[in-house]
Symmetry: C2
Subunit: 143 residues, 2 copies
DNA sequence: CCTCGATATATCGTACCACGATAAAAGATA
DNA sequence: TATCTTTTATCGTGGTACGATATATCGAGG
């Protein structure tokens, strides 16, 4: 970092930019395929990940915990929980210890959707892995 | 696939589900950080990727080409182009050869934003690479 | 006990993004 | 010319996320 303007970053050359574009494109492909699998299981990607977070948490998870796990603001998690509850995939349970908190739990429907979508995702994991590692490698070597 | 119900997938065990949850969490971290960098450069992630696609295409790119590159429906690309044009980051140019087509080109402002954000992204690429490969490896080995 | 600041959840309005359905203009073809 | 296709655009809807704000509860200090 021995440049005149301390905060200025090195300019990006054409090859680097192209490789980076291909990485982003790969990422989009991965997410598009995931979205497709989710839709096939009557889920959106966000709802799938929310169910995943709720299910894999060791203990009952609160709305705030969900926000933290999904890197969201609290109220965004509230809204996500609203939609999931309306779709009968989760239930809100009052926390006996701390009456401010609301715990979230999967319904049988939610669990069924989650496990179906997760299994389908894992089926295509191999290709995902190859796609991503190749793109990552390509960007690194172009730098 | 020697199971009674041909289309039924293998059930996912707890360890696998947990590893997969961590992979999705890593992916979210990567996207959240990217979003943050984009915001700092007065972009959203979608606009950044659109600019990237337009800039790295060899020749002038049309709305339809953009849709294809971003894995979007045509009209979603139209809307994205609308927002980018309104923000003065791209220009629409009528195609002389085929008057149905509209070509997209970066403005100096768009190019500046793109290169700034791209440079910032590449700065943090090393960490991104480690995060993702570790998570991918973890899921694979849990399967 | 009571107030006060912090924490947890919820609500409201706004914006971005993406889609299906539909339309209009221009090219391609019979 | 008439028709079919391609390309772009418009309209209405829904999912997601945010900032600002509100309400309830908890916990600490007086």
């Amino acid at each position: 970092m021995s440049m005149k303007k301390g905060t200025k970053l090195k300019a990006v050359d054409k090859a680097q930019l192209g490789a980076f574009a291909r990485l982003r494109r790969s990422l989009r492909e991965v997410l598009a395929q995931s979205e497709e699998i989710c839709i096939a299981h009557e889920l959106t990607a966000q709802r799938f990940q929310a169910l995943l977070a709720i299910e894999t948490a060791g203990e009952p998870i609160s709305v705030g915990d969900l926000a933290s796990e999904l890197i969201l603001k609290h109220h965004s998690a509230v809204e996500l929980a609203d939609r999931l509850a309306q779709a009968k995939m989760i239930e809100r349970i009052a926390d006996k210890q701390d009456k401010r908190r609301v715990l979230l739990r999967l319904t049988p429907l939610g669990a069924q959707r989650l496990h179906g979508a997760a299994a389908a995702h894992l089926e295509s994991l191999e290709r995902l892995h190859e796609t991503l590692t190749a793109s990552l490698q390509s960007v690194k070597s172009s730098g």
